[in-house]
Symmetry: C2
Subunit: 261 residues, 2 copies
DNA sequence: TAATGCATTTCGGAA
DNA sequence: TTCCGAAGTGCATTA
């Protein structure tokens, strides 16, 4: 394997300044094979072919290649990479004979697609042998909202009794199948975010399953809903239940020590 | 502004090996302010608070900060960053007094949220003054599929006539409002990808708007659909129309010269 | 600014 | 493997 021109001080990081095409191909291939992450500051063109197809003309970008086959091409703005290959791809880096330039190709099947990064110039290249066993822990998800509702169905309506969580039907899964104080079946669809028309649709689909078996109610539960969604519910005989206590707002969160600007 | 320890050869790239906390804070702030992208290989902890809240324990990650306020924290696998701030955030980098460690905080309001990266160790830091004016050009999108259908409605059904594209209703926009050979109104919902139950829902919502005005048909147009979606359509009196010519498959695309492995 | 729907959505879980 | 739905979805578009 090829050695970096400037051995980095940082543990697990090897840096190459303006590497030639062969070095790029060599380092990228070796690093990915050995489980390291590669970052490169390059001028490049990108071509994508697969679910759609597209072309990105020459420009300076940050390219990230991960050992799981992920490839990201980032422009200087935006959260989303302009081109990419998700986990599970195969990344092959070679040198285009015609131009003596590195070419990074990521592919996968199912769906069959392909990203080709034609590197015009490599300003810098970093191999990062990252050790990361940590898993992200999150709270405030819809799953937690489900737990809360299962424990406190009366927050939705007095006398409501949960019969089943995640009940499967021939048209999909119902969040909660419940029964109200009168004994009428209630289908409950829970959303962590503001309810949308699609959420309304979803509830309507589930409720329609039970309509021919007699009286059924449908509850759309969310922190809020647009006027249009509330109207759609009314028109369709469904009920929207606002649970504003699930409104997320970081101002309620505890500020940390480093929170001083 | 602080100078890099090792001046990079690459145009527009400045590299810092194992920079101390003050250098990190200085370089990140200056670079972002001046429109450059910053990449750092670090050991860090991350805390997020906003739409949900979460914590990522210590580990090695790639951190990318963009001048538009985007912040990305990447673990060594996956397409998606484990933590992030989308475009429009404000990134403030400082030095935690207690530990003499860099702390990168990205915030935004609407929704109010906050990412804090507590950097335990900085293996390397790169400032990249990327010049990129190119825009990604894409084809094969749903918009193009619409154009095709508008030009060739007979591909959906003999005698079908498009009356209106993107017709607005009180429950959202209909892809196509059309009339069949018999003069019956037809609501058409087009999907570029395999049709899902949500797509079926969407069509059903639109069709329901016209049901009280008389006979209406609903067409769900997509390259394919699951068995459950087809059944849902049948049960609801809607029709699924397969347009397999829009099945995306890169094997049909033209292989490029560099496509040699 | 809010609302609506597409997206090369990605991702995880279950059958 | 496919199917289904959540996601801190992001993002453009339009009112």
């Amino acid at each position: 394997m090829c050695r970096p021109r400037d051995r980095a001080d940082g543990m697990g990081v090897e840096r190459y300044e303006s590497p030639d095409a062969e070095t790029v191909a060599d380092v990228v291939s070796t690093a990915l094979h050995e489980g390291a992450v590669v970052t490169a500051e390059v001028a490049c063109e990108v071509e994508y072919d697969g679910r759609t197809s597209g072309y990105l003309g020459p420009g300076d970008r940050l390219v990230v290649a991960k050992p799981d086959g992920t490839l990201l091409v980032h422009q200087p703005t935006k959260h989303k990479p302009v081109n990419w290959m998700p986990t599970g791809g195969t990344i092959v880096t070679s040198v285009a004979e015609t131009a003596d330039e590195p070419v990074i190709v990521a592919r996968r099947s199912n769906p069959r697609e392909r990203v080709e990064v034609r590197v015009r110039e490599t300003y810098g290249l970093t191999r990062f042998d990252a050790a990361d066993a940590a898993e992200y822990e999150e709270s405030g998800t819809e799953a937690e909202m489900h737990e809360y509702i299962e424990a406190h169905p009366e927050e939705l309506e007095d006398g409501l009794r949960i019969v089943e969580h995640e009940r499967e039907t021939k048209y999909g899964f119902i969040d909660f199948y419940a029964v109200d104080a009168e004994g009428t079946p209630v289908v409950v669809e829970v959303k962590r975010v503001q309810a949308t028309l699609n959420h309304f649709d979803q509830l309507k689909r589930y409720v329609s399953l039970y309509e021919d078996t007699g009286d059924v109610r449908g509850l759309l539960v969310a922190p809020s809903a647009s006027e249009r969604v509330e109207r759609a519910c009314r028109d369709a005989g469904l009920e929207f239940v606002a649970l504003p206590e699930f409104e997320t707002d970081a101002t309620l969160g505890n500020a940390t020590l480093t929170d001083f600007d």
